[in-house]
Symmetry: C2
Subunit: 133 residues, 2 copies
């Protein structure tokens, strides 16, 4: 079995070029390019413009989701890349996003979602609770 | 300033009632109820049905996003509640989701996205890199 059902990459882009974070068209184009180049299969996407600036975007992919929220006034973007297929070329997505938003610093945390040992442990707990020997 | 720009709650629901995780209508209804009861403002939502079962769902809210991915065969759901407003009553969302999916175990991790000290530190780093004294 895989190491987990899903891999969830939490990315914090600091010191971005603020101009790149302000409006939907640029952010949407970059994000959809990241989805495409990392070999995801896009199901749906929605990007929302904040006033006076800032963007929230989600891309539903067959393999889970990519999301972004931008704070141009802080030169910051919070990005999540959640995928559950070994076929995804996640480094390509990161490269596209780096080129698009030009962060001076990226903080990256990988979370494993649905780890086999936990799925098994808590499934057993349920059996115990219901009286199954 | 707030403790961070956004609060990101990573929830792992183990040992759920598998029947509740299989199809879009039930998952979507529960998730939109969670969004409503926690006082978010829904901008858009999209739920995707997998064959033979399983659901991916995203809700874009004015305050960021809620997402869910379900694996009924593992009685497991990966849920993210990302919000950037103190007005959100997040405990109400969790309560709705618990009642809907009946997990025997919840693993919860709170991430702070865009912490002031990091925003400041990496912003300064950018200035240093560009030669600003």
């Amino acid at each position: 079995m895989k190491k987990a059902l899903g891999t969830h990459l939490i990315l914090e882009f600091f010191g971005c070029d603020p101009g790149t974070l302000k409006e939907v068209p640029y952010v949407e184009k970059a994000f959809l390019k990241a989805a495409k180049e990392s070999k995801t299969h896009v199901v749906a996407h929605n990007f929302h413009q904040f006033n006076p600036y800032g963007v929230s975007g989600v891309v539903v992919i067959e393999e889970s989701h990519y999301t972004i929220h931008t704070w141009p006034e802080h030169a910051y973007a919070a990005i999540d890349l959640f995928y559950c297929s070994d076929e995804i070329e996640i480094e390509k997505a990161i490269q596209v996003l780096k080129e698009a938003f030009k962060p001076t610093m990226i903080k990256s945390t990988e979370l494993l979602r649905g780890k086999p040992n936990e799925l098994m442990a808590f499934s057993r707990r349920k059996e115990a609770a219901s009286g199954v020997p």
